[in-house]
């Protein structure tokens, strides 16, 4: 059994590691948290978006006269009224074929629409009803064009081009060893094609925001977002200096990557700037499901070769993803897929060929797991089939091949922290306990395991950084200011715990101000499982420096060396028990002119762009490893699958707040179960058929079991106190674990998601028609 590195500082920690209610829990339990749509301003207008009903069409005419003339309408905007009608996605560091200058989209459609729901015009009106009526009065003449709705078709010669430059958006390749020769020599080769599908983030809070032009001429946008740095996008579109736009990020009612790209921000900026009045825009659930980017569907072709004893020798992977009509973050999503496609296993010979194509489907972009999670279905289905072919125990196969510290990924990045693959597989599997008996003679019980790796932190050549200001008030209370959007993962609360730990105060003595691009030091995006890693390190650094500053003063007051003074219970304490309160200490700092605050900047270890095809190297700061084990019951007459038990084990390095860690693991695992079993955005020739929560089904409390978290604390993460990120990782394994458990139960392999009763019934031969 792999050994977990002991954490030496555990006993000394007073606040970090405690199961504490988050600082925002009381407000949320009383519904005092003011989300984006809850904000109201005097004289506020209501914004609305006119969207294309066609997935592929030319716009021959737009006449806004009747809409603009409706009483109560303050503004109607089309592309002509948008100063700079292009939004750019940054795709830096590409080494394979990526069209960097093609990663853009039009704010409002000019003469061409490429997906159903593409924005065409904006309205601001006195009431939402008037705005809706005005949308209906805008006349748009469309001329339907041929479209392409499948990524394989999109890449065939003669396919209708979604963009002028052709339908191949990006390509990544990894080459390690000689994969074809290794496959030819392998004792067993397993070959399968897997397919996964469009899904939606489906957070409970639809996109919303309010914008106004402040007294100083600055546009203020208070919107539900994971990225307050979008103030720059708004400024670029309006042609304003960046310092004339301010983004405020209220607590977010769920993000999961869906509020990483711009949603309402630019529209609100345009309408508020044009009308010089406050404007609110709240998307309906239907609009949210229709118009916003989805998770990438992938076609995954795997050939896996192994020796007779189960040692993996080769992984050959071909990937094709559907970007929908625009690039958004597709090139980066594809890179995450490429880097992780061989799984958390040692294989000397690896080849990955990944492509992503434009279609006239809904656009796809960031969603929790970001390309890496789709790969788990591929590599973990393959592992189980290798085990089956060789008659090996599936846990033993993973332990034998699992990556270890010091190993290199196929991209040749060395893993320089503890790698928990083997330990997680064994602990997750071991926690399942005795196998349950089937509930009826026609039910079958089966078990499945799936491991995964997920990067945390951004690509190293993005030179990521985060800043945080930490200070004492004169009464000894602590203030943190940092531009972190809190999307419900406890991002802000963990920072309070870290500051409280370092500064020797109880967490309730810490106040935190987050996510204001004008007033809080910027901390970067709440994406990529990076906030605890990045802003946690920034707060740790700031608090540590602040502690040093004030300890020097405390040392003078206590007349002992600074390294013998501790901060605890809001006092500076000498080893002999003498103490000065923080109030006294702050008074002395003021008298001496010693600063009571510190602005900390954390810069992630940076690297140069690597060429994945030739040489490779470090791409991500580090990875989080884990394994899920499930027990399912399959109804052999209907194909219905019930998850009886679900154990989710991850190495989080250090649980800053174990309760928050468990919540992330349980929530992520259930989202992964939804992905595996029931969720699907059904798209029929570019038309989205899943635009209501009655059609797009996410798990209810009756669809899932209690997920049992098993937390490994190796202490070897690169975040504060040895923490690793845990936001994205838990969504990866469930779908593959379920597929593996189903084969264990009924002997059929499901290779396409979601694993609906119908799909299982077909695999069992119960359904043959249609």
């Amino acid at each position: 059994m792999a050994k977990c590195t002991a954490v030496s500082r555990t006993e000394q920690l007073r606040v970090v590691g405690r199961r504490l209610p988050r600082h925002d829990a009381w407000d949320k339990a009383q519904a005092r948290t003011l989300y984006a749509a809850d904000w109201q301003m005097p004289g506020m207008l209501h914004g609305a978006v006119l969207r294309s009903p066609y997935p592929s069409a030319r716009i021959t005419r737009i006449d806004t006269t009747r809409g603009a003339g409706l009483p109560g309408v303050a503004a109607v905007l089309t592309a002509r009224e948008v100063p700079h009608n292009t939004l750019w996605t940054d795709v830096p560091g590409q080494t394979s074929a990526v069209g960097p200058l093609r990663a853009h989209l039009q704010v409002l459609a000019e003469d061409r629409v490429r997906y159903q729901g593409e924005p065409v015009a904006l309205v601001a009106a006195q009431t939402p009803e008037i705005a809706a009526q005005a949308l209906e009065l805008i006349e748009v003449a469309y001329e339907e064009q041929p479209g392409v709705f499948d990524p394989e078709e999109a890449l065939r010669p003669g396919a209708p081009p979604v963009h002028e430059e052709g339908n191949l958006l990006a390509r990544w390749q990894v080459r390690c060893g000689d994969v074809d020769a290794a496959l030819a020599r392998a004792h067993v080769v397993v070959e399968h094609t897997y397919r996964c599908h469009f899904i939606d983030h489906a957070y409970l809070e639809p996109e919303a925001g309010v914008a106004w032009v402040d007294a100083d001429g600055v546009i203020v946008i208070r919107a539900s977002t994971q990225v307050i740095e979008h103030f720059r996008d708004v400024a670029e579109v309006l042609g304003l200096p960046h310092n004339k736009v301010r983004m405020i990020g209220p607590y977010v009612g769920g993000g999961f990557g869906g509020k990483e790209d711009v949603t309402v921000e630019v529209f609100l900026g345009l309408l508020a700037w044009r009308t010089r009045r406050p404007v609110r825009m709240v998307w309906s659930r239907q609009e949210s499901l229709l118009a916003r980017p989805k998770r990438h569907p992938f076609i995954l072709r795997y050939r896996t070769g192994a020796e007779r004893d189960g040692t993996l020798v080769a992984q050959k992977v071909e990937l094709l993803a559907d970007s929908g009509a625009y690039a958004f973050l597709s090139a980066l999503v594809l890179m995450y897929a490429t880097v992780t496609a061989a799984g958390p296993y040692r294989a000397p010979h690896v080849a990955v060929d990944a492509r992503v194509a434009y279609t006239n489907n809904p656009p796809t972009s960031a969603m929790r797991g970001f390309g890496a999670m789709q790969m788990v279905l591929g590599y973990e289905s393959q592992m189980d089939q290798v085990a089956r072919r060789l008659d090996l125990d599936p846990v033993e196969l993973r332990v034998r091949n699992g990556l270890r510290k010091g190993d290199r990924l196929p991209i040749r990045q060395e893993l320089d922290t503890y790698v928990a693959v083997a330990e997680a597989a064994q602990r997750a599997w071991g926690t399942l306990g005795p196998r349950r008996a089937p509930s009826t003679p026609h039910h079958r019980v089966g078990r499945g395991l799936a491991c995964n790796l997920q990067p945390y932190g951004r690509i190293v050549w993005l030179h990521d950084w985060a800043s945080a200001w930490v200070g004492f008030e004169t009464d000894g209370s602590v203030v943190i200011r940092t531009g972190v959007p809190d999307v419900g993962g406890g991002q802000a609360s963990s920072l309070c715990q870290i500051a409280a730990e370092v500064l020797g105060v109880e967490p309730d003595r810490v106040s935190i101000h987050i996510a204001d691009s004008a007033l809080t030091p910027l901390a970067g995006t709440t994406t990529a499982t990076r906030q605890l890693y990045m802003s946690g390190n920034a707060v740790l650094h700031a608090a540590t420096q602040l502690r040093r500053q004030i300890l020097d003063v405390a040392a003078q007051m206590l007349e002992i060396p600074a390294d013998r003074v501790d901060l605890q219970e809001s006092s500076a304490v000498a080893p002999d028990g003498r103490r000065v309160s923080l109030v006294q200490l702050m008074r002395e700092c003021t008298r001496l002119g010693v600063s009571r605050s510190y602005l900390g900047v954390y810069r992630a270890p940076a690297g140069d762009p690597v060429d994945l095809e030739r040489g490779g190297g470090r791409v991500f700061p580090d990875y989080t490893f884990g394994a899920h084990a499930v027990e399912v019951e399959v109804d052999s007459e209907t194909g219905a699958v019930t998850v009886l038990r679900h154990v989710a084990c991850h190495d989080v390095g250090r649980a800053i707040n174990p309760q928050s860690v468990e919540g992330q693991i349980q929530g992520g695992a259930v989202m992964g179960l939804g992905y595996g079993l029931m969720e699907e955005v059904v798209v029929d020739r570019g038309v989205n058929l899943s635009t209501s929560l009655a059609a797009y089904l996410i798990p209810t409390s009756l669809d899932v079991p209690d997920v049992e978290p098993v937390i490994i604390q190796s202490g070897e993460g690169k975040g504060p106190f040895g923490a690793r990120g845990i936001g994205e990782p838990p969504i990866g394994p469930p779908a593959a674990a379920i597929a593996n458990a189903i084969e264990d139960a009924i002997g059929v392999r499901i290779t396409e998601l979601p694993i609906t009763p119908e799909r299982v019934a077909r695999a069992l031969g119960l359904v043959t028609n249609g």
Partner: protein, 160 residues
């Protein structure tokens, strides 16, 4: 557009509003009365986010026309507790981490409140069934169920 004059009780206080006949209770509460503690998740009665109590029974306020509440009692989450202290359900949601993003929380707590009043000794499976109409996308439900079970224990456990 026909406007209705509607008198009803909101969290124990008499309220009188005028609203077009097609406006929903959700619309009137949020935009008319500023009761933004009621959240909108889907607008079509699927997600349970906008749950309020109508004469003590949980309803999706997006499906109730405002005119239907004339003369009746509407309770939002602000009607639980006494304004100073938290209701035991709220305390247990805090203690167990039942609120993550917090957006489903008001509706979830109101559904649980009505349920526990009728079923003071629920099993875990009972609680799962009771909240099946309230979607949560963050927690995986376990910590919500933990919180509701703990609140039920508190209500039924002898004090002291």
């Amino acid at each position: 557009m026909t406007e209705l004059s509607i008198v009803f009780t909101l969290n124990g206080e008499r309220r009188e509003i005028r609203a077009p006949a097609h406006h929903t209770l959700l619309h009137v509460l949020r935009d008319g009365l500023g009761a933004v503690e009621v959240k909108e998740g889907c607008g079509e009665g699927v997600c349970g986010t906008c749950t309020v109590l109508l004469d003590g029974e949980p309803v999706s306020s997006c499906l109730v026309l405002a005119g239907r509440v004339a003369g009746r009692d509407v309770t939002t989450i602000r009607g639980l507790g006494n304004g100073e202290t938290l209701h035991p359900l709220q305390e247990e949601f805090v203690a167990h981490g039942g609120a993550q993003c917090g957006f489903c929380t008001p509706g979830m707590i109101l559904t649980a409140y009505a349920f526990l009043r009728e079923h003071p000794h629920p099993t875990r499976a009972d609680i799962r069934r009771a909240i099946a109409g309230n979607l949560c996308r963050c927690t995986g439900y376990t910590k919500i169920i933990d919180a509701i079970a703990a609140a039920a224990d508190r209500e039924t456990r002898p004090r002291g």
